[in-house]
């Protein structure tokens, strides 16, 4: 037992009680991050306990990684050090929910799907239809910064997180923002925590703006011979009066992924046959409103699809939409389960440039003998899954070549890309956080303020922060 783990096992039970400290190696394996196991896992029951744990860790120079449901610990670079897993599962209360005010304050360890259940009872929701939906926690979702198909209309967490309480890397309990929908009091420090992968501190609770649930909703799917036409559907919609909630373009291979065993296990229900086709690109969109509004969307979409020579058009209703749209939400886990060495890039470009990116992705993947699938959000975010047949040296080299080519091409298009998911042992060979950026020195300043001792998830973030 190392000196560090001796100190840990002596002190942590004092803070949270022995029942909430895990030292058993078999159980600790659940907290592995990129092959690294922590010396201990601790399950605090209050914000004060979190602050105590982090204060202790800072004093002893122990590296801490906060975790929720442990679904996204594979994101980012491998941690440089990892002593304590801080399991947030016990902080799972709704602190305040005022349906009439459309505001919510919830602890980070609360299950996201259960939270949406609570909101659903009041005909409200949060636009966070994120991967690992049924398992993930609120804190994990926010800390990982994963996005939702609904961002087309509602934006991302930064647009509806009203405030946050967090513990800094020095064990200081602090907050920013508030619980009202409009607020410019003080710096918006909570925005920095979104997507920071636990490298700035521990998110303790999050205040959200909630949204009234839609009336009726429908899904529209049109398939096309090539990517250009599917993208043109997106562009025409953006120029029209329609404001759909979601818009995505799916590459042909997605049809197979969504029809597969992994999709059946991770998504929900059974996909209607023939909605997607493995020979076609698909444009999909979700929209909401009363009967007249739904009819207007369908009419406009059908007309556009016809003008663009769609091969097939399907309108999904309340029964047929969930299987298809839950698969779209779970694209990442489905792709990860579809190859022994799935590597997923996230690429952001201006919407008009998606065409060039998709063409380059196809070229780079195919010239490296890689199967691939892409899901492109209308807002200009492309998830590209590279699906090698084997997890070997040769595949690694192919994936490295392809991702490097794509990152370079994306940079030329004024966009940026990262590789949020890749096999752990390949990460050192890949540009996980993309190409170097001009604002890195400013990120270092932020990191130093929140975590001066460098104990919070050290090394996982951009540039090894």
């Amino acid at each position: 037992m190392s000196l560090a783990s001796k100190t840990v096992s002596a002190r942590l039970p004092d803070i949270v009680g022995a029942a909430h400290v895990i030292n058993d190696p078999a159980q600790l394996a659940f907290y592995e991050v990129d092959g690294k196991k922590p010396g201990a896992a601790v399950r605090p029951g209050s914000r004060e306990e979190i602050a105590e744990i982090v204060k202790f860790a800072a004093a002893e120079n122990l590296a801490v990684i906060p975790t929720g449901a442990r679904t996204k610990l594979g994101m980012g670079l491998p941690p440089r050090r990892y002593d304590v897993a801080l399991d947030m599962a016990r902080l799972d209360r709704v602190i305040a929910y005022d349906p009439a005010d459309l505001t919510l304050s919830v602890e980070a360890g609360h299950s996201l799907s259960k939270l949406l259940g609570v909101l659903g009872d009041h005909r409200q929701f949060l636009p966070l239809l994120v991967p690992y939906f049924s398992r993930t926690t609120v804190g994990g979702t926010i800390a990982a910064g994963v996005d939702s198909p609904l961002r087309q209309y509602y934006g991302t967490a930064r647009d509806y997180v009203l405030g946050m309480e967090y513990v800094t890397g020095e064990g200081v309990l602090a907050k920013s923002g508030g619980r009202v929908v409009k607020n410019v009091s003080g710096y918006d420090l909570h925005k920095l925590m979104i997507g920071s992968l636990g490298t700035l501190g521990v998110i303790v609770s999050v205040n959200f703006k909630t949204f009234p649930s839609a009336l009726g909703s429908r899904g529209f799917v049109a398939t096309f011979e090539n990517a250009d036409r599917a993208l043109e559907m997106r562009h025409r919609t953006a120029r029209s009066a329609l404001t759909p909630l979601t818009m995505e373009i799916l590459s042909p291979r997605v049809a197979e992924l969504f029809a597969g065993e992994a999709a059946a296990r991770i998504g929900s229900g059974t996909m209607l046959p023939n909605v997607l086709s493995s020979k076609h690109w698909a444009f999909t969109s979700g929209y909401t409103g009363n009967e007249q509004v739904l009819a207007r969307y369908e009419e406009d979409f059908r007309r556009m699809a016809e003008e663009l020579g769609a091969a097939n058009v399907t309108v999904l209703d309340d029964n047929t939409r969930p299987p298809a749209f839950s698969r779209k939400r779970e694209f990442v886990p489905i792709a990860l389960a579809s190859s022994p060495a799935t590597t997923i890039m996230k690429i952001s470009v201006l919407p008009a440039r998606m065409k060039e990116v998709l063409a380059e992705a196809q070229r780079a993947a195919e010239s490296n003998s890689l199967e691939w699938a892409a899901l492109a959000r209308g807002i200009g975010v492309i998830y590209l899954a590279l699906l090698p047949r084997d997890r070997d040296e040769q595949s690694r080299a192919h994936v490295a070549n392809a991702t490097n080519d794509i990152l370079a091409a994306v940079a030329k298009l004024d966009g940026h890309g990262t590789i949020p998911w890749a096999p752990s042992e390949w990460k050192s060979a890949l540009r996980i956080w993309g190409l170097e950026r001009g604002d890195f020195a400013q990120m270092q300043k932020v990191k130093k303020v929140f975590d001066p001792h460098g104990i919070m998830a050290p090394g996982r973030f951009v540039g090894g922060l």
Partner: protein
């Protein structure tokens, strides 16, 4: 001020771009708040190189620098609290790029908010955040203050529309934060810098998102006989499944003041009105407008008028947007507050404001973003009378404290600036404030950029809660 600095500034910018005589500086003592502070000089850069040069000189001479857009701010953000150089961005007012296909524009900080929307309107686009001062205020100022406006209810405030920033740091470095594409990898630096009230950097270029003009806009005027019916209607609308594009409330006193000035057709005998915009597709806007009208009637609206055409709509909105000007006809000075409360707390909060009005003997008008719970009580007073000034500030403080008690906050869109730094401890602990201070100090290590704004001095410095009173004779916005 140091004559060598003046000489260097003139050399950098040209003599006509540097103001330093007392009579020239007079205008720059003010913004739209009741605060005043006189700068040592005012300079007008035309390029980002100029901005970098000014920052370099300020560092060399150890003089504070403060950015300023149109000076319409309502919390003293653009005032030189400790003297020094005010950098007026009015000469950096070009729209650099409009990319209709990707719905974005790149602008210099001095571009006037309404000018951007006007420039992109022929393309079917607009810039959504619309502060009431939008005909004068600049995008750079909006970015600093994270400005809102009536139509931010559904589309969000400035921070929701800024994609990336180019800034000059107090060290003189020019850097870009974020990118043209969304989701820049790393910490959300644009999210930190927007709304930092000019304390972290000077903004030299802004990339903003443009929205598509809606197919249909329905404007409703709902007229009520009691304040309680009006405020209860607001909560019923927003929680009922429809988010209007705007939901503004004018109380009886205010709308009579406005009507006398604008002749928008506001009823003179009502207790309050709601001005509501619903937008979207033809089908959605029409059915939602009917639903909202029904909610208003259910809450005893005496009458719900629907604007028949664009002219009627514009007239109603003209009344709203010129309200502050209209109030200026009744009082030499007014103090506009900016508290926020949860929307369901509107009824008791407005009752409390009435009590405070009676207690201090000031007329208080209410015209505000009801849908957001963002109050703007206008306290009418005569600033030439120091006793009245003190009373107005005390009344405002009582309103803000009540907002905080209701679970709200001290400012929704006007900023903390030098007006409310002393009130920050009402909502933030010393630990909360210390993290914010460290962030400021990390980016603004010498403290020369917009000193003593937002964050109160540390405890023990004896400043918290002892407001330095502004000089008498302040001007209305």
């Amino acid at each position: 001020m140091d004559t060598r600095l003046l000489k260097d500034l003139k050399k950098l910018l040209g003599a006509d771009m540097v103001l330093h005589r007392p009579e020239e500086l007079l205008l720059y003592e003010y913004d739209g708040s009741v605060e005043t502070a006189r700068p040592s000089c005012v300079v007008f850069p035309q390029t980002k190189a100029h901005v970098m040069g000014i920052v370099e000189l300020a560092n060399r001479y150890k003089v504070p620098i403060v950015g300023r857009g149109a000076g319409t701010g309502l919390s003293g953000g653009a005032l030189a609290r400790h003297g020094g150089i005010v950098i007026g961005f009015s000469r950096m007012n070009r729209i650099l790029e409009v990319d209709a296909e990707n719905q974005r524009a790149v602008v210099q900080p001095g571009v006037v908010n309404a000018d951007l929307s006007a420039a992109v309107a022929p393309l079917g686009l607009y810039y959504a955040p619309d502060p009431s001062s939008q005909k004068a205020c600049t995008i750079g100022g909006n970015v600093s203050e994270n400005s809102g406006g009536p139509h931010t209810l559904v589309y969000g405030v400035t921070t929701n529309h800024v994609l990336s920033l180019e800034v000059v740091l107090p060290t003189g470095e020019l850097i870009r934060l974020g990118g043209g594409a969304v989701d820049s990898p790393g910490y959300d630096l644009p999210g930190l810098f927007v709304g930092s009230e000019g304390t972290l950097a000077l903004v030299t270029e802004i990339t903003v998102r443009l929205m598509r003009l809606p197919e249909t806009v329905k404007t409703l005027l709902a007229i009520f006989d009691t304040l309680d019916d009006t405020t209860e209607t607001v909560a019923a609308i927003t929680s009922g499944g429809i988010t209007p594009a705007a939901c503004e409330m004018l109380d009886g006193w205010t709308l009579r003041a406005v009507e006398a000035y604008v002749h928008a057709g506001f009823p003179l005998d009502s207790a309050a009105v709601l001005l509501i915009d619903i937008d979207g597709t033809r089908e959605a806007a029409e059915s939602q407008a009917e639903e909202v009208a029904e909610v208003c009637r259910k809450h005893h609206a005496r009458e719900v008028r629907v604007a028949r055409d664009a002219r009627e709509r514009e007239l109603l909105w003209k009344g709203r947007k010129n309200a502050f000007g209209a109030v200026g006809r009744f009082s030499t000075t007014y103090y506009v507050q900016d508290g926020v409360i949860p929307r369901t707390k509107l009824p008791q909060t407005l009752r409390r404001i009435t009590e405070i009005s009676e207690k201090y003997g000031f007329q208080i008008g209410n015209i505000f973003h009801a849908g957001d719970g963002n109050l703007h009580p206008l306290i009418l007073f005569d600033a030439r009378d120091e006793k009245q000034l003190r009373g107005a500030v005390a009344a405002a403080d009582e309103i803000i404290e009540f907002c905080v008690q209701m679970g709200g906050t001290i400012t929704g869109e006007h900023g903390v600036g030098m007006e409310k730094d002393r009130l920050m401890p009402l909502i933030f602990s010393e630990d909360d404030l210390e993290v914010m201070r460290r962030i400021r100090d990390a980016f603004n290590p010498t403290g020369l950029l917009n000193p003593e704004k937002i964050l109160p001095l540390r405890k023990g410095c004896g400043e918290i809660y002892s407001r330095p009173l502004p000089a008498a004779g302040t001007a209305p916005a």
